[in-house]
Symmetry: C2
Subunit: 339 residues, 2 copies
C-alpha cells in the first residue's frame, strides 16, 4: 500500500508541475519570433476567442482543428519542392535497376544533369518521374528510402538538410495551438507518404495527421508469405485546390477553425475554413523577403513564379474575406531556427 | 498575481485528482464485464507488455494504435446492418422527392414493404439504394439526416435505438486501451460518413478516427455563394477485406498493435496487424450466444449467415496465427449496457 500511495503522490506532483509549467508558458510570449503587429495579434486573439471558457466563440477541445499547407507555409519551397528534388535524385538508381530507361525521356534529360533542360521538362514528363519514383515499391521500402535521402540531401542555398528549413515562427504557431488543445494537421499538395516520413520529428505532427496527395496501395504477400502494402500509381486524391477541403473531409471529417497557406493551391482550404460559423482564422504567408528567404508573387508586384504562385486577385479576395496576410519581411523576427 | 496563483493551484489540484482517479482505476478491474479466461487475460497481458516501461515489447505512446471493426465487433449487425436499415428507411422520402422512382426497381420493392422480397434483392439493387440514399447531398445535410434517423429508429428485437446496442465488454476494451494511451480507431466496411455521425457519442471515437468505406466529395458553391462539399457516388475506398489494411495505411499511416474483428471482412486487418514486429493482439469475436444476442458462423457448427460470415477455415487460420477468439457466450458476463 505504501508504494502505491507514494507512486500516486509522485505522479500527482509531476502532473502538477507540468500544469504550472504549461501555465507559466502561457504567461510568456508564445510567439517570440513574431514582431508585434496585426498578424501576431490575429493569432493571439483567435486562440483567446476560441479557447477561453465563457467566450461566445468558444470551441470545445474535440473540435479544435487547425490545418497547415506545408510547402511555402511551414518550410521553404524554392527553387523546387523538396519532394521533386527527392524524385530527381532517385532517377540514377532507377536507371541502374532498369538500364533501358537511360535512353528514354524524361529520364535521359534528368541523367544528363543539365539543370536548365530539367527545369524545362513539361508537367507530363515530371509526372512520369513522380510515378516512377513514388510508386511500385512497398510502403516500408519507400519509407526507408526517403529516410536515407533526408539524412544526406542538402538544400543548395543553405547547405543544410531540408528538414532544417522550417520556419521558426510557424513552428511556434504549431506549438501554441497544440498547447491550447488544437489538433494540428498538415494538408499538403505533396505526397502524403513522403511528408509522413519526417512530419513527426520535424513538426511534431504524427503520420495520421498528415493529409496529402495520395495514391492507392494494394495488399500483397511477399515470398516469405508476409503481407505488405504496395504503392500503386492509382491517384486517390490530388490534395491541392478543391482537393484540400475534399481531403480534409476525407481524413478529418470536420471543418478546421484555423488554416494557413501561401499560394493558389490553398485558396479553397482557406475559403472553406473561413466560411464556417463562429470565429475562424485564415492566414496567407507572403514571400516578400528576398534577403532572408525568397520573394515571389506576383501579388504586391513581387516577382512571378511557377512554384507557389500567389496572384494579386487571390490576395485581394483574401483581404476581402478577412484572411490575414503574413509578411515574412515585416512579421517575422527570424525565419529559421538556425539563424 | 493572486488570481493567477490560485488558478494555477486549482489547475494543479484538478490534474492531481485526475491522476489519482486514473491510478485508482488501474488498480480495479478494467474489464468488469469479461469473465476470467484466455481472452480477458490476452487483453490484460497485451496492454501490460506494450505499455510497461522496460518491457521488451514496450511501444512508445505515439505508436499505440488499436483498430476495431464495427458491425458485429462493437455492436449488433443482425438481422441487417444498421446502415442498410437507414438506407431502406430513406426510400419513402426519396420517392416523395422523385415520384417516378415508385415504379422503378429496386425502389418499387422497397416501397411494397414486403420484407421477404426486400431481403431477396440482389446486391446490385442494394447498391442502387445505397448510392441513392448516401450520395447526392451535401455532407452537412447527410449528417443532419442520419442524426434525425438515429434519434427515432429502433432495432426490431430490442426496441431500442441502434446506438444502445453496443457491446459493453468492447466499450470497456476501448476505454482500457485509451487509458493506456492507445488511440482507438474504427475500421469498418460501413460508410465512413455514416459512422462518424455517432462514433464520438457512442464510442468516444472522434470523426478523424473513423476509417470506413468512402466515396469522394466535390467542392461546390451554394446559391448563397458559400462553399459546401457534395457527396459523390465515386467510390474511393471499399474498406473491407484487403481494403481494411489499405484504409489503415491511407488514414493512419501506421500498422496497428491491436485489431478486433468478427468476420471474413476483417481477415486482412487481423493478419496485417499480427504480422508486425513485437507483441501484437488480434481478436475475433465469435457470435455463439443465440439467447443473449445471435449465433452464427458457420465456424464451430454455428448456423450459416450472409451478414458477418465467419468460416471454419478462417477460424482455423486465426487459431494458427495466434488470434484470440472471444466467445460471446463464455467470455462476456453481460453483453449490453442496458442489461
Amino acid at each position: 500500500m505504501k508504494t502505491r500511495s507514494s507512486a500516486q503522490f509522485v505522479r500527482a506532483l509531476l502532473l502538477a508541475s507540468l500544469a504550472v509549467a504549461t501555465h507559466a508558458f502561457a504567461q510568456t510570449d508564445p510567439l517570440p519570433s513574431w514582431n508585434d503587429g496585426a498578424a501576431k495579434k490575429a493569432i493571439l486573439d483567435f486562440v483567446q476567442a476560441t479557447t477561453r471558457q465563457g467566450s461566445p466563440s468558444f470551441v470545445p477541445p474535440a473540435e479544435r482543428i487547425a490545418t497547415f499547407d506545408q510547402d511555402g507555409t511551414l518550410w521553404v519551397e524554392h527553387p523546387i519542392y523538396s519532394q521533386v528534388a527527392y524524385c530527381l535524385d532517385r532517377v540514377p538508381d532507377l536507371v541502374k535497376a532498369k538500364p533501358e530507361l537511360a535512353k528514354v525521356e524524361p529520364f535521359k534529360t534528368v541523367m544528363s544533369g543539365n539543370r536548365e533542360a530539367i527545369a524545362k521538362l513539361p508537367l507530363k514528363d515530371l509526372e512520369k518521374i513522380l510515378v516512377a519514383t513514388l510508386t511500385g515499391m512497398s510502403v516500408d521500402d519507400f519509407d526507408a528510402e526517403v529516410k536515407k535521402w533526408l539524412a544526406r540531401a542538402k538544400d543548395p542555398r543553405w547547405k543544410r538538410p531540408y528538414t532544417d528549413l522550417t520556419y521558426q515562427p510557424m513552428q511556434e504557431v504549431l506549438e501554441f495551438l497544440r498547447a491550447n488543445s488544437y489538433k494540428t494537421y498538415i494538408v499538403t499538395g505533396g505526397g502524403q507518404d513522403f511528408v509522413r516520413v519526417y512530419a513527426e520529428a520535424t513538426y511534431g505532427i504524427p503520420p495520421e495527421q498528415v493529409v496529402g496527395t495520395v495514391s492507392g496501395t494494394s495488399y500483397k504477400y511477399g515470398k516469405d508469405g508476409k503481407p505488405y502494402l504496395l504503392k500503386d500509381p492509382k491517384l486517390l486524391l490530388n490534395d491541392d485546390n478543391a482537393g484540400k477541403p475534399e481531403g480534409i473531409h476525407l481524413m478529418i471529417g470536420r471543418r478546421p477553425y484555423a488554416a494557413f497557406g501561401n499560394s493558389g493551391g490553398d485558396r479553397q482550404m482557406l475559403e472553406y475554413t473561413k466560411a464556417g460559423a463562429g470565429t475562424r482564422l485564415a492566414m496567407l504567408v507572403l514571400h516578400d523577403d528576398s534577403a532572408r528567404e525568397y520573394a515571389y508573387g506576383p501579388a504586391r508586384g513581387l516577382p512571378p513564379t511557377k512554384v507557389g504562385t500567389l496572384t494579386q486577385a487571390l490576395y485581394d479576395e483574401g483581404k476581402k474575406h478577412g484572411w490575414i496576410v503574413v509578411s515574412m519581411k515585416d512579421d517575422w523576427k527570424r525565419i529559421f531556427t538556425f539563424e
